[in-house]
């Protein structure tokens, strides 16, 4: 079945695969755009101070992450078709379904990214007079990019692979659907094995480099974090706690605080 003849047939019919690949890439790009927009909006919702927004975001994320993509895609396609939108193409359904599904994951990526930026950053922005949206745009989001990129690329890899859910919808034109149609076609079924392998090679050739890039970025990020150049709060020698004060007042109940100062300081804790 891996005969040269099979590969010659694939070569001859390359247009089928090329069109499938184009449709898959289209689905990926549009799906990614939808997911990105949804992800930013829901990510901002989930980090905002407004509880209703956080709840909306939470419900969306949990609902989407805990039901199968396949079901969401089927539901979307049939619901919309039965609702009367006859011209609703499987390709469009695929884009929407992937966008909605991965939007939930992107949202979590953004949330983690925003939460990783120290609170002092937005406080500095507010103290200068930036609004919430301005501080996000000029100060917080630019700092999240490095944190967000690796998991984001991983999500894109998943998104590419998830174009496969279109197979079930039927009538789709993406690479998987095209491959399968080819493999079960009357005249081409003989080349099924080679077709599947070929399709797998195409996916691998796209996804593997992306995964590697993501892994590389992630490692670089970790290495940088370990250098740790964020200033930590030092226990300033003059930080006197309430409890200490109480104790001191007790000890010095017969007054003489002014002269007692030096002695107290030596026992009281690192006054230097």
């Amino acid at each position: 079945m891996f005969k040269a003849e099979s590969w010659a047939a694939l070569f001859r019919d390359y247009r089928i695969f090329l069109n499938g690949l184009i449709a898959t890439v289209q689905m990926t790009l549009v799906g990614f755009s939808i997911a990105l927009i949804l992800g930013i909006i829901l990510g901002l919702f989930s980090t905002s101070g407004k509880k209703p927004l956080r709840i909306i975001s939470r419900i969306y994320v949990e609902f989407i992450q805990n039901t199968p993509l396949m079901l969401q895609a089927l539901f979307l396609f049939y619901a919309v078709t039965f609702a009367g939108f006859r011209g609703f193409k499987p390709l469009v359904a695929g884009m929407l379904a992937l966008g909605i599904y991965h939007g939930a994951y992107f949202s979590e990526v953004f949330r983690a990214g925003i939460e990783a930026v120290p609170k002092g950053q937005s406080e500095a922005a507010y103290s200068q007079g930036f609004t919430y949206v301005q501080s996000m745009w000029y100060i917080i989001l630019p700092q999240t990019i490095k944190i967000i990129l690796p998991p984001m690329v991983n999500q894109v890899v998943n998104l590419i692979k998830n174009t496969s859910c279109m197979l079930l919808v039927g009538g789709a034109v993406d690479l998987i659907s095209a491959t399968n149609a080819y493999a079960v076609g009357l005249s081409t079924a003989r080349y099924a094995a080679a077709a599947y392998v070929f399709s797998g090679i195409i996916f691998f050739a796209i996804c593997f480099p992306l995964s590697r890039i993501a892994a590389r970025w992630e490692q670089r990020l970790k290495a940088r974090d370990q250098q740790g150049n964020i200033p930590k709060k030092k226990n300033a020698p003059d930080n006197v706690s309430d409890a200490e004060l109480d104790r001191m007042i007790g000890e010095n109940s017969d007054g003489e605080l002014a002269s007692g100062t030096r002695e107290n300081s030596s026992e009281g804790g690192g006054l230097e």
Binding site: P118, Y126, A236
Partner: protein, 241 residues
């Protein structure tokens, strides 16, 4: 310039400020002292609404502070310097200084950079304009943070323990800059600090905060010579070297 009227602030059911009345006059240099956890940061952060009071009012200049007016009021009236510097790490020093004026006050780039350079010279870091903040020492970062506050060209400067996160040898360079600022009548300065030498030199008034109330207030001399409150005495005994 800043007026707090019967301000209460609770976090959950812990009441951190229990009815503060305070009027910081225009041009006044006010130092806030008090033990750890007494609410000093909460108090100064109320002045630019980084914390919102549970009850009571905050006035800045003639404006009543509110959540929605915070951005507008801070933009034209105040600037803050934090213990942790909070410089923007993704921007160069120059961009840290020009971001606010350019985006908030629509100052043209060229002009914003001239203003920034002026203040960088003032903190003696003009040669660091094009580096990223994380390459600088703590003291240098804090001086940049002060320059960033100054580029907003507002009258009120708020400092929350600006030297507490610094290595001891870097404290003075930052205090020197602040002492320089205090000589200018235009600036209203509110400073949370334990640097009593600094307080003695620049403060018009010192307030001692403890348990969420102002337990004592007066001139620095008053605090050094005859503080009345027991807790204030004990505290001063502890921190004056």
């Amino acid at each position: 310039m800043i007026r707090l009227i019967d301000v209460h602030k609770s976090f959950g059911n812990q009441e951190v400020l229990k009815g503060i009345n305070l009027h910081v006059k225009e041009g006044e240099k006010l130092v806030i002292i008090g033990p750890s956890g007494s609410g000093k940061s909460t108090l100064i952060r109320l002045m630019n609404y980084l914390e919102e009071p549970t009850s009571g009012q905050v006035y800045v200049h003639t404006h009543l502070m509110s959540h929605n007016r915070r951005a507008f009021i801070n933009k034209i009236h105040s600037a803050m310097v934090f213990q942790q510097f909070n410089l923007y790490p993704h921007l160069t020093v120059m961009d840290n200084l020009t971001l606010g004026p350019r985006k908030l006050k629509k100052v043209p780039k060229r002009e914003a950079e001239e203003i920034a350079m002026h203040y960088l010279k003032r903190v003696k870091l003009e040669h660091k304009a094009n580096v990223y903040p994380t390459t600088l020492s703590g003291g240098q970062q804090q001086r940049i943070a002060i320059a960033r506050a100054l580029t907003m060209q507002n009258r009120v400067l708020l400092f929350d323990e600006p030297t507490s996160a610094l290595d001891p040898e870097m404290v003075q360079e930052v205090l020197d800059v602040m002492i320089g600022l205090s000589k200018e009548k235009n600036f209203t300065m509110v400073v949370v600090t334990h640097e009593m030498g600094f307080a003695r030199e620049v403060a018009d008034r010192v307030i001692f905060l403890d348990g969420g109330v102002i337990l004592e207030e007066g001139t620095p001399e008053h605090f050094f010579k005859n503080p009345q409150n027991e807790r204030c005495k004990a505290f001063l005994g502890k921190i004056i070297r």
